[in-house]
């Protein structure tokens, strides 16, 4: 593949820690010459307009600096956004971000759907019909939410598969795997509770079947079913209960756990794919010598026997 030259990133937008200092003799002021901005004559008196224009130009930077001085956000954001990633990082590593994006789509469309939806057994179906047929763009927003839920479940599983097959769940990232499993369960809870909300025949019977499957758990299953239904039969309180779980309880938990999940990703870093071998540190003895007598690899290429 021909190497495409990257466009030069302007020095001003590169955060200070990543800027390459000019090598001696290069860049900066030419030797023996006075700096260009050295004033040799008294500064000219600025006009009012000039002064205001200068201030206006500085305003965005000033605002950012004001915030940064009080939050230290630049340091945090620089560390997070410019963190090093291992060699071999590829498109499979975007599945987590894709899942997060799917969740954000669900959250945003869900908030707007809640403006028109009525969680009542007698009005729920009519309110969904109104969203689809009466509200401008309602069918689109409802469709995004409906199909987006399937997309999110699919992406969660692909993300989980990537983590599993790349061995990214191993030490020290086990806790992040556990958090991810909880997020998977919460995502399925969202899909399950959201299914009842349109309150059509499919919603109703799917929820009946889902609750009954849940009830087959020994000893506590029957009580869990009653708690889900708020009674021995699926009724009016079941719908408002599912609605509350769907839009208040579980989203809060998901947001909190996504925060923990991302914190651990940034803190621990990502793993290289399993096919990328560890690099020999600079100045280390050739690996072929270290391995001599252990594996008897005569190829001289240390990397091939490093595992």
């Amino acid at each position: 593949m021909p190497k495409i030259p990257l466009p030069k990133i302007p020095e001003s937008i590169v955060p200070a820690p990543l800027r390459k200092p000019a090598k001696p003799g290069q860049g900066g002021a030419a030797k023996g010459q006075a700096p260009a901005d050295l004033k040799t004559s008294p500064p000219e008196r600025q006009t009012h307009v000039q002064r205001l224009t200068d201030q206006a130009k500085e305003a965005p930077v000033d605002v950012l600096a004001w915030v940064d001085q009080r939050t230290g956000a630049t340091g945090f954001l620089t560390g997070m956004l410019y963190r090093k990633v291992p060699k071999g990082t590829n498109w499979f590593y975007t599945l987590g971000s894709a899942t997060l994006f799917a969740f954000i789509v669900q959250a945003v469309t869900g908030v707007f759907l809640a403006m028109f939806y009525t969680p009542s057994t007698t009005q729920a179906y009519a309110s969904i019909a109104h969203i689809n047929n009466g509200v401008p763009l309602g069918a689109l927003v409802h469709g995004m939410h409906k199909w987006g839920s399937s997309l999110m479940v699919i992406l969660v599983f692909l993300h989980m598969g990537r983590t599993f097959f790349f061995g990214a769940y191993k030490y020290p990232r086990e806790l992040n795997w556990v958090i991810g499993v909880v997020l998977l369960i919460l995502t399925m809870t969202m899909a399950f509770t959201g299914y009842l909300l349109p309150f059509d025949q499919r919603s109703f019977w799917a929820s009946v079947v889902g609750i009954n499957i849940n009830g087959t758990g020994p000893v506590i299953g029957p009580y869990l079913s009653d708690a889900l239904r708020a009674g021995p039969e699926l009724g009016a309180t079941t719908l408002s209960r599912f609605y509350s779980i769907h839009m208040l309880l579980v989203p809060g938990a998901i947001i909190a756990l996504i925060g923990a999940h991302l914190y651990l990703v940034v803190k621990l870093g990502t793993t290289a794919p399993p096919w990328v071998r560890a690099e020999k540190p600079k100045g280390a003895a050739p690996v072929s010598q270290l391995d001599a007598g252990v594996e008897g690899n005569g190829s001289g290429n240390g990397a091939s026997s490093s595992r």
Binding site: T121, V209, N212, P222, P232, G235, A236
Partner: protein, 224 residues
């Protein structure tokens, strides 16, 4: 910053190097607990009580329906003469009030049959709720069986399972006769021998050890 008492405390007994563990700041000889520890326990305890005072009622409110049993409900489904021994008649009545059509359920009602050693003056109301996962079963007159469209559960004329995934016979409803009308009442489940037990959800076995593995729920009515 250690105060004078800290510096003096225990200094006579042993030099600092030999002591196993230095006493924490604020510790006085003879105390079983430092001020700091006492306040830590007190603050955490009070915080815990305050938290429990909020969380416990809220959780109790959420799970309260488990322990609530609604009012017993009877509904007339037709005059006595409408029902015969050798086939079922489909009736629709309200099981859960206040939610319109979603609260209605279907039962298949017939007169008690001597063939099954039932009281000929009684009535049998079989629920159409499949005990596999809750789909609606249909009585197929030609076959004399109840058949579930979802996963192929088959029940005989009495509602006993004869095929497919269901785990027990079909549920029944209590029946009685008032003013010449047959009335159906609360739901109950049956064992494989058609002995009445408290209503169980679909998918839950009845009878024997299953009565303990799927315990009866307080929200259901005692069987007849």
């Amino acid at each position: 910053v250690a105060d004078d008492a800290d510096k003096m405390n225990g200094a006579e007994e042993a030099p600092r190097q030999q002591r196993a563990k230095p006493d924490p700041p604020g510790y006085f000889e003879g105390e079983s607990m430092t001020r700091r520890r006492a306040f830590t326990i007190a603050a955490q305890g009070i915080g815990g009580i305050a938290g429990a005072a909020i969380v416990l009622p809220a959780v109790g409110f959420a799970v309260a329906p488990i322990f609530h049993r609604g009012k017993e409900r009877w509904e007339a489904v037709g005059p006595v003469n409408d029902f015969v021994e050798d086939t079922y008649r489909q009736v629709v009545f309200t099981e859960t009030e206040g939610i319109g059509d979603a609260g209605k359920t279907t039962a298949y009602v017939r007169k008690g049959s001597k063939q099954f050693e039932e009281d000929p003056n009684s009535f049998v109301a079989v629920s159409n709720r499949c005990v596999h996962l809750g789909c609606p079963v249909r009585f197929v007159e030609a076959a004399g069986n109840f058949i579930c469209p979802c996963h192929g559960g088959v029940y005989d004329f009495q509602g006993k399972r004869i095929g497919g995934p269901p785990v027990r016979p079909l549920d029944q409803f209590q029946t009685r006769v008032r003013n010449g009308q047959v009335e159906v009442g609360p739901r109950y489940s049956v064992t494989s021998q058609l002995e009445p037990v408290r209503a169980r959800d679909p998918g839950e076995f009845t009878g024997g050890i299953w009565e303990y593995l799927y315990p009866p729920r307080p929200s259901t009515f005692p069987p007849p």
